[in-house]
Symmetry: C2
Subunit: 355 residues, 2 copies
């Protein structure tokens, strides 16, 4: 039976990206060697990283003066690299959930941290509004999409300080005004690649200002100066990212991804709002287009497990909600097809008809 | 033409490891999803990491009280994680080359560093002998194999302090007395997997003693407590490691790898010593079995480029020496076949006959 992959991450990738990766692992560019066993210094690999950087700059319209890096360790490592490199005295954080809290925790090791707002009291079911950010902070950190709670900041915030954005789960799903950021980072395993690589976009002239000695590998300058080749980068995950970037461009770029994201989300949220069994968990205006969270209406609470079983039997994979929210989560990253969300909606309708 | 992969890293992997990885990337365990797009929390993936950990413990005969971790960031990130976690007051480092120096540089950010010995004055052509290590250090750090210079510490050192070993380029090529170490780490892209994962073996009761706050991701305790699942681990590189660990076991374990390493190295070093064109660069007793470095004898210096071209034309890949040494480097990791080194030796003989 055809499977529909709604995993929150690592998550669905375009089939051609997967097939091209497997092909290059068997024989890289007809070299007789596997992509897994070539040197990162090989003359065949530099073009991979160069093209990937160029495509990221093109797709996100990255202004002059920014560098694009491929690092290991995941976005969680960036939680400490960001303050190590950018926190001079005081930083502001918008608390929209688990990942924002984790980022804030690391920043407190390096300086003063101001929480500008939080929706913790409401189990992060909305993005806080109407707050102000102090003018004297080094940056405002935001998590643009909250994978666990299903909220998203999809429109650029209007603030007076430079931002740092954790865009792990919505990068490349929409245009971004990169000039508003000192740094953007994203674990690749949602919209970009397999797990094992993190992309970081940094504003070059903001580096080197922090009043501390930074371990070499944690210093963004190290990686800027060496073009992500200070040490051996994760070759295969970078290659898969390149294949996916090519696919995004071919499909029409981040504007097309944005349009598709709206189409997919409209299909699922409309059904959630219509179906008597289900309700969304997030305030309507803050609903994520990437991670669609919903639960059983209270009078049908006992149907949660049966629905999960039914949907699984129909080929849906990874729709169990995170334990912090319960219920269901349909992750709809770039590679999620309209057919996939229609299949999910059919499950919801059929299950409603059965009960 | 058949290619023989002598790359220093990322480097040769057994063909079945590559083919099985490609197969699982197309369809993981018949699930209909790619290995690249499954959740690391999927019930199919936990057995992967569990089996990989168990095989590492079995193959290296790891004593009770040690944890095996899979991390991102490469061995270069361990250069700062090691002192972050283990340097309480003073640490000793044996300086055997570029990687040892880099490790030492990071340690100096955290405490006093004693260089117990160095072969820098001789361009690291030997492993220093006859030195003593202070008794009051927290650990002695050694680089067991020096990829660039072609030296190796293949027999456990007899010292009175616990060691920390960077075994990036010779792990799983020989038995190791793990009990002598507080920590062993290795970037996987030599003897274990594709680039993108680092394995770390830590002695649990040595953790938590450092007098500093450690960023969460840099604290080994974080990863021990979460079984390498604190954040998304590099799923595909870990899977490839598992395939390679299965291969090593099937081939007879690290004892068989050790025997093969000696056989391969004997074949190449014997030819270097016999052939009038070439000479080894390293003192005979410290020659690495993993990275065999050699140069043209002075009277044949002008044949360096022609030999490289000839060997390349015969299918040899990656034998150009590192710029710090010049000449040639034949890296002979676990997956290097006897056929491969014989093909290299044939090139050397044929080229000698032509000149």
């Amino acid at each position: 039976m055809k499977k529909y992959n709604f995993n929150a991450g690592p998550s669905i990738l375009p089939r051609e990206v997967i097939e091209n990766t497997a092909k290059q692992i068997l024989d890289f560019n007809g070299s007789g060697l596997s992509l897994a066993e070539i040197s990162h210094r090989a003359k065949d690999f530099q073009p991979v990283i160069d093209e990937a950087v160029a495509l990221i700059k093109e797709l996100l319209n990255v202004p002059e003066g920014y560098s694009v890096l491929f690092l290991g360790g995941g976005a969680s490592l960036e939680f400490c690299m960001v303050p190590y490199n950018f926190l001079i005295k005081k930083a502001a954080y918008l608390n929209t959930g688990v990942w924002a809290k984790k980022a804030m925790k690391e920043a407190k090791l390096f300086g003063e941290v101001v929480e500008v707002a939080s929706s913790a009291d409401a189990n992060f079911t909305f993005i806080p509004k109407g707050w102000t950010c102090p003018d004297d902070v080094d940056y405002l950190h935001i998590t643009t999409n909250n994978t666990i709670y299903g909220t998203e900041i999809r429109k650029e915030l209007d603030v007076n300080v430079p931002m740092i954005g954790d865009m792990s789960s919505d990068i490349f799903s929409r245009p971004v005004d990169v000039a508003k950021y000192k740094c953007i980072y994203a674990g690749a395993q949602k919209n970009l690649s397999m797990a094992g690589v993190t992309i970081v976009i940094v504003k070059d002239d903001e580096l080197g200002k922090a009043p501390r000695e930074i371990p070499t590998m944690l210093n963004y300058q190290t990686h800027v100066e060496k073009g992500s080749m200070f040490n051996t980068p994760p070759v295969v995950p970078i290659y898969t990212a390149l294949e996916n970037l090519r696919w995004i461009k071919k499909m029409g770029g981040v504007e097309a991804m944005d349009k598709l994201a709206h189409e997919r989300a409209d299909i699922v949220y409309s059904e959630i709002d219509r179906n008597k069994l289900f309700r969304g968990t997030v305030n309507a205006e803050d609903r994520s287009l990437m991670n669609i969270c919903f639960v059983m209406n209270e009078e049908y609470a006992e149907l949660e497990k049966p629905f999960l079983e039914y949907a699984t039997s129909q080929g849906m994979v990874g729709i169990k909600g995170h334990r912090s929210v319960g219920g269901f989560r349909a992750s709809c990253y770039n590679a999620q097809s309209i057919e996939g969300v229609q299949a999910l909606v059919k499950c919801m309708k059929d299950f409603e008809a059965q009960h």
